[in-house]
Structure formats: structure tokens, C-alpha cells
């Protein structure tokens, strides 16, 4: 069998294709695994809540444990920079507003950088 025919055989193309896809995926992961989790906290009417404490829960084997806290700024924005998990939950707490719903955030790989599209929302207004 010629070298050209060997190169286009399924024994080369399939493992080669898998290797290429894996390398591309690993490169993408390496460029996006800084553990940054960003989002906003708003009250029931959609106004930003500053000074809210946002808790990050990391998935263990069967439960979620709190791994860190961040405080929202005047625009209600918060940011974590040290997430190492692939499955997290976020919850905000503020004086007078109680606790927001706990948001489940599933990631495609551990420490994936993510920005929440929907803000964490309290059930009450300021």
C-alpha cells in the first residue's frame, strides 16, 4: 500500500481527527480557564444592588460547599477570580433584602471563565 493510501485510510484519519479535535479543545480550554465568574446583582425591580455579599458554592461529590465570597459594587457587579470547579452555584445576600435565588451554573470545563447573562435577582426591592 502506498504512503498516500495509508495516510487516507480510516486507521489514520479517525485517530488523527480525534487528535486534532482534542488539541483544538485543549487550546481553547487553556485560553479560557482562569476561573473568572462575573455577574450582577439586582433587586426585584431590576435596580443594581451594591454591597451585596455573593457566595460561590462548588460542587463536591454529592453536595455543594461554599468556596468564596465577593461583594457587589455600586453597579451591582461582582467578580470571582479563583473558581476551580466545573459546576457551581451562586447566591447573593444583602441587608434588608434577604437572599436571592440560588443560581446553578454548569460549565463545560473546570475553571471556565463565565459571565452571567441573567443577574442574580432578589425577591424584594430596596
Amino acid at each position: 500500500m502506498s504512503v498516500r493510501r495509508q495516510l487516507v485510510s480510516r486507521w489514520v484519519i479517525v485517530p488523527g481527527g480525534i487528535a486534532v479535535v482534542t488539541l483544538v479543545w485543549l487550546a481553547y480550554v487553556a485560553a479560557h480557564d482562569h476561573g473568572v465568574v462575573e455577574g450582577r446583582v439586582v433587586d426585584r425591580s431590576g435596580r443594581p444592588v451594591g454591597g451585596a455579599s455573593v457566595m460561590l458554592f462548588e460542587r463536591g461529590f454529592v453536595t455543594h460547599q461554599e468556596r468564596g465570597r465577593a461583594t457587589s459594587d455600586a453597579d451591582g457587579a461582582f467578580r470571582f477570580t479563583d473558581n476551580r470547579s466545573h459546576s457551581i452555584q451562586l447566591e447573593a445576600e444583602a441587608p434588608g433584602l434577604g437572599r436571592s435565588e440560588r443560581r446553578v451554573v454548569r460549565l463545560w470545563f473546570a475553571a471556565q471563565d463565565v459571565k452571567l447573562v441573567e443577574p442574580l435577582r432578589f425577591a424584594t426591592s430596596k
Partner: protein
């Protein structure tokens, strides 16, 4: 073919295809169910069962990858299966060639091989363990692949393939000065690709799915292979319907891939001995 013959054959052919469709459906439904459960979080005991997946997602696969050392188990399984495949092709080809030659006691060796096929591996597992321990191969990749380095069924696959090669071709190679080794490598193996594919597939699948032997000889959790990882995953997790089936899919995919790549040669390899005159 006459028109009347075609008319008679068509309903028969349709019936045959209908039977094939029914059998294929029965065979494929469990696979579909595994795949469907893997991409949803549906409870498999829910009644009535949903035929189509609801809100499908791939996060169960991510969970499996991170909640247990899946990459390590995968690497272990690949290394052990590769050793088993290489051992099978090399040792079985040599044994298969030897059995095509005439030597004193050949029939006795054949009878011994055939009778050994009747002994289940479970019955020989204690001596196999002791031999492996004496050789210092416990908890090693080579030890994990050891019992599958040569299998009698695959020796007979090579024997049948080598016997199908015309004797004159081997004699001509010998007259040209080729040694016995080179006859195997240069003449017989290139003409026995279906037998090689059969050996690759069978040894890969046997090694990939092997549970009992790795369970016995591994001491370190990081030396475990995927079937052991699956059992461990099952014992650790609760409410894991989706993730458990995702694990099963991830274990199944490599062996299905190897089979699909070599299925043409595999089927030819299995049937070549059967059709030989």
C-alpha cells in the same frame, strides 16, 4: 431472472428485511436508552417512559470527567488494551504459524489448546494470580494485560488464515532464502489482514471490558481501569442516573469506534475459516 421469480422473491425479501428490522430494533433500543438517559437527567423508572429526550444536555459527561479521575482511568485502559493487542497479534501469529507446521505432538498440542478453551478463566484465576505475583507484575500495566497477551481463539483465527495461504507461496519464499520469521512478517501477515483485524478487535474489547482480573491485581486506585472506575463511581454516587449512563457511554465509545473501523476485516476474518474447503 424471470418476472414470476422476482414476484415470488419480493414478499420473501420484504419479510426477511422486516425480521432484520425487528431484530435490529430489539438490539439497538437498550443503546438508545443508555444514550438518551446520558444526555438528560430523566429517571429511568419514570412511567410512562419518554421516548424522546427532554431538555437534552451534555453536562453529565463533564461531571464524569471531573468527579472521578476519568482521564487517568481512560489512560490506564488505553495502555493495558494496547499492550494486550500488541501481545495478541505477535504471540498468536507465531503460535498460529507453528500450528500450521508439522512437528511431533502437533495433534496433542491442538487437543490441549482446544480442551483449555473449555476451562473458564475464573477456574484458573488463582494460579494466574500466583504466577503474576511471582513475576512481580501485580499492580502494573503489564500485569493487567498479562492473561490476555495470547488467547486460544485468536491463535486459531491466525492458524485458519495462514492455512488459507497457498503452500506454494511459502515454499517459493523459502527457496528465495527467507527465514521462518521473515515468511511470517513479509508473506503471511500481509495476506492475513482480516485475521489481524479480528485479533485487534477481540483482544481490545476483551481487555477493555475486563473487570475481574484488574479488580484482583490492582492495589493503587490510580492503576484502575474504566470498568473498575465505573463500579467505583456507582458505589460513590447517589442519584446519578444521567451521570452513570454518561460514564457507560464514555466507556463504550472507544470499543465501538475500534469495531467500526475494523468491522469489514473482522467479519471477513471470522468467516474465512468457516468457508474454507
Amino acid at each position: 431472472m424471470a418476472e414470476s421469480t422476482i414476484r415470488r422473491a419480493t414478499p420473501l425479501l420484504a419479510l426477511r428485511h422486516l425480521a432484520l428490522v425487528v431484530v435490529s430494533f430489539v438490539m439497538l433500543v437498550p443503546f438508545y436508552w443508555v444514550l438518551k438517559t446520558a444526555i438528560t437527567n430523566e429517571n429511568i423508572y419514570a412511567y410512562p417512559p419518554g421516548i424522546l429526550p427532554r431538555e437534552p444536555h451534555l453536562y453529565n459527561f463533564v461531571d464524569v470527567w471531573y468527579l472521578i479521575p476519568f482521564p487517568r482511568y481512560l489512560a490506564n485502559s488505553i495502555i493495558v488494551s494496547t499492550i494486550a493487542v500488541i501481545g495478541n497479534v505477535v504471540f498468536n501469529a507465531l503460535a498460529g504459524y507453528a500450528l500450521t507446521r508439522d512437528f511431533p505432538g502437533r495433534r496433542a498440542v491442538l487437543a490441549l489448546f482446544l480442551s483449555c478453551m473449555l476451562i473458564p478463566f475464573q477456574a484458573a484465576i488463582i494460579p494466574a494470580y500466583l504466577v503474576t505475583a511471582k513475576m512481580g507484575l501485580l499492580n502494573t500495566y503489564f500485569g493487567l494485560a498479562f492473561p490476555l497477551l495470547s488467547t486460544i481463539v485468536c491463535i486459531f483465527v491466525f492458524k485458519a488464515a495462514f492455512e488459507a495461504v497457498p503452500r506454494s507461496l511459502i515454499d517459493a519464499a523459502r527457496i528465495d532464502g527467507l527465514s521462518e520469521w521473515r515468511i511470517i512478517v513479509r508473506v503471511l501477515l500481509p495476506l492475513s489482514k482480516p485475521a489481524i483485524a479480528t485479533n485487534v478487535i477481540l483482544s481490545f474489547i476483551w481487555s477493555w471490558n475486563n473487570f475481574l482480573w484488574p479488580l484482583l491485581i490492582t492495589r493503587d486506585p490510580l492503576m484502575q481501569t474504566l470498568p473498575l472506575g465505573l463500579a467505583r463511581f456507582l458505589s460513590y454516587m447517589e442519584d446519578t442516573t444521567g451521570a452513570l449512563y454518561a460514564f457507560a457511554v464514555m466507556v463504550l465509545v472507544p470499543s465501538i469506534l475500534v469495531f467500526l473501523m475494523a468491522q469489514k476485516e473482522f467479519i471477513r476474518g471470522l468467516t474465512s475459516g468457516a468457508t474454507k474447503g
